[in-house]
């Protein structure tokens, strides 16, 4: 040992993940998108209960006096009477609410002829939408990783069958498969849920979206394994007698994690948008449950009831609020994925 080596301060080498994290946090867009998505998460999961506690009503309660006599909903920041029964005169015409009726605040007004709180529904809708996105991504990863590993590592006939199948399905517009499957599975699968935490219909939509979008990660995993299966570290594992499954599990899966992370962030966003598409067509979560998709579907109408639901008693704002929510979360997730990629592969700017 030379003097220089002995006298040098001992610095522990920084782990690879620390370097990656440092690169990630040093980018402004990355931090901004992370903060934006954290805000969306907080607003969707905690926002609904917090706002309910402050204003004193939840997103399911209907206030008949939150609409006027034409059933047009109350506007932004309006205090509506909490009277739950509409008073009628002897001719059946609607009477104004009693003067001393207690009033409650609707931050973004009412959601339509039913007179529910639009703000709380947008917040609650975020919860269901994000759950759909996250569950769907987990399900497609569960399907894609084993199949992709088999196809990519072993190649041959298994690979031929799997890649041919994915090519066929990818050539065709996915939405048709999704609608077809959803329509026919709705009676059996839609009631599944867990109270208000996981609204009924969310597991079904997540399952179907997850299954039908698993072709994309499957191809990703397969391609990545193709490039790695003849690498030296795999050969050396094989030489010491490791079985194929062990090589996949111990040597190759850790290398897949970054790829899956980059894909996952975008896929959550994509799956949320697929849910919007399904709801707008009218086959997703049932329309009484708030998701960003059903909130938009209210204003566009579905195939089952053409034209805006509730006879057009909606304003442009009822399209704009869910749109802003969707845009913020999807843009931040996309940027997040892009920043992940840059942090993981700094050489590929």
């Amino acid at each position: 040992m030379t003097a220089v080596e002995r006298d040098a301060p001992r610095v522990a080498p920084r782990a690879a993940w620390r370097l990656t994290l440092g690169r990630f946090l040093s980018e402004r867009a990355a931090v901004a998108s992370l903060a934006a998505f954290a805000l969306v998460l907080f607003a969707s999961f905690a926002g609904g209960p917090i706002v309910s506690a402050i204003v004193g009503h939840n997103g399911f309660e209907q206030f008949p006096y939150a609409t006027n006599a034409n059933l047009d909903p109350a506007g932004v920041w309006s205090h509506v009477p909490t009277t739950t029964q509409v008073r009628l005169d002897e001719y059946g015409a609607v009477l104004p609410p009693p003067k001393d009726a207690s009033r409650t605040l609707m931050v973004l007004g009412a959601d339509g002829p039913l007179g529910r709180d639009e703000f709380i529904r947008v917040l609650d809708g975020g919860k269901a939408s994000i759950e759909v996105g996250v569950f769907a991504v987990l399900i497609s990863a569960l399907i894609a990783v084993p199949l992709g590993c088999l196809a990519g590592f072993y190649g041959g006939k298994v690979d031929a069958v799997i890649s041919r199948l994915t090519e066929w399905v990818m050539a065709f517009p996915l939405i048709f498969f999704l609608v077809f499957a959803t329509v026919h599975l709705t009676p059996t699968l839609r009631p599944i849920g867990w109270g208000h935490h996981i609204p009924a219909g969310v597991p079904m939509v997540a399952l179907l979206i997850g299954v039908f979008t698993s072709f994309y990660p499957l191809r990703l995993v397969r391609a990545q394994l193709f490039t790695m299966r003849n690498a030296e570290f795999v050969d050396s594992s094989r030489m010491v007698g490791a079985s194929g499954l062990r090589i996949i599990r111990k040597d190759l899966l850790p290398h897949l994690l970054p790829t899956l992370l980059v894909w996952g962030a975008v896929a959550v966003a994509t799956d949320m948008l697929l849910e919007v598409g399904l709801s707008v067509i009218g086959v997703g979560v049932q329309s009484s449950t708030a998701t960003w998709g059903t909130l938009l579907a209210q204003t566009t109408g579905t195939i089952y009831n053409a034209g805006p639901g509730g006879g057009g008693h909606h304003t442009t704002w009822h399209t704009v609020w869910p749109t802003i929510a969707i845009l913020v979360s999807v843009v931040s997730l996309n940027q997040l994925s892009e920043s992940f990629r840059r942090a993981i592969e700094p050489w590929r700017r």
Partner: protein
């Protein structure tokens, strides 16, 4: 030449295989969901007797052996005949009346193709200059603005774009019709309409009705293609051949048009080929927002079924699926041919980079 012919022959065979696979998959999916075709004959809601179910299926010919029906369907298709639809079947005086599919299918196909072709042209026309501007100076103000716009475009669901466009330009400002389709040729008023009633039609009405659908359709692809052209331009602008062209004294515009952009066109072609399926998925929502009764709408209606009968109209579904698969296959064939023309190196080789970008939740 021979190599290109061989390459195309292989592609045609592959396309035929895809068509067969898609139709067979649809067929298998339909028969695996315990369908009730008999409901189309006796549309009496939920209370339908077992006899009515079996009799209805018998009258529609849906109780024959499955393989017979399958072969029969292909036999009819090879004769250019899609058969009869099940929905709108009506039984009176013990005679079943059904309507042929083709008269419903072809007008719908026309509407969808109008949206697809017009929207695709618009997307390419706008995205090439935007991508070139953005890719030439990475990091400039123009590049940042365009990239941000592209990010938002990639994240916006077509239903949102369409909804906001109709609301603003159709309903609030009343600049353009808020929905509906007009034929390019004005047809005379058919008999039975009140006097003075005119059918909507003619080139001007056709264009005004299609402007918003085109933009809605193009917005998503615009964003995708701008991103891609930007990446390609930014990559090739530092290549040696570009520097050589500049050194020879070529003008900037000529350098872009002759040396940089042709390189990007290869990637664009690859993407167009893969996005034809996606485009039909986008068309679902465009047709939906603007109230068109196009192909995608027809497919969704056939799948979700008659609201009364709540069953899937298999012949109609198969017909639409076949036409959609044909559009995908033929479109890919055209793209492949163009590819072989643009890039003389290709022949037997596969197109590079066959990974599909996903955008706005439409795949």
């Amino acid at each position: 030449m021979k190599r290109i012919a061989l390459f195309l022959a292989r592609r045609i065979a592959g396309g035929a295989l895809t068509l067969w696979a898609i139709v067979t998959l649809t067929w298998l999916m339909y028969w695996s969901i315990s369908p009730q075709p008999g409901r189309f004959v006796y549309p009496v809601g939920i209370k339908i007797t077992d006899f009515q179910l079996s009799d209805g299926a018998h009258r529609l010919g849906a109780d024959r052996p499955k393989l017979t029906q399958y072969g029969d369907w292909w036999w009819h298709l090879l004769h250019g005949n899609f058969g009869h639809q099940w929905s709108s079947a009506s039984l009176s005086h013990n005679v079943l009346t059904t309507f042929p599919i083709a008269p419903t299918l072809y007008p719908s196909l026309r509407e969808t193709l109008c949206i697809l072709i017009g929207g695709a042209l618009l997307a390419v026309l706008i995205s090439v200059p935007l991508g070139a501007i953005s890719g030439r100076r990475v990091g400039s103000v123009a590049d940042r603005l365009i990239s941000l716009g592209a990010l938002i475009g990639v994240c916006t669901h077509p239903i949102v774009t369409g909804k906001l466009l109709t609301q603003w330009f159709g309903i609030d400002l009343k600049w353009l019709p808020a929905g509906g389709y007009c034929t390019f040729v004005k047809h005379p008023t058919p008999a039975g309409y009140p006097p003075g009633y005119e059918l909507c039609g003619g080139p001007v009405a056709w264009t005004t009705h299609l402007i918003m659908p085109w933009f809605t359709f193009a917005f998503l692809f615009l964003a995708l293609y701008t991103r891609m052209i930007r990446a390609s331009v930014a990559e090739s602008i530092h290549e040696d051949y570009v520097r050589t062209a500049r050194a020879k004294g070529a003008r900037e515009r000529r350098v872009m048009a002759r040396h940089v952009l042709p390189n990007a066109s290869l990637r664009v072609l690859t993407m167009v080929g893969m996005d034809i399926g996606t485009a039909l998925g986008v068309a679902v929502f465009v047709e939906f927002v603007y109230g068109f009764s196009g192909l995608a709408r027809l497919a969704i209606n056939a799948m979700t079924g008659d609201p009364i009968a709540s069953a899937t109209d298999l012949p109609m579904l198969l017909a639409v699926v076949t036409v959609i698969a044909l559009i995908v296959v033929i479109g890919n064939l055209i793209v492949d041919t163009l590819y072989a023309v643009v890039d003389p190196r290709t022949g037997a080789a596969d197109r590079p980079g066959r990974t599909k970008e996903i955008a706005a939740g439409v795949m």
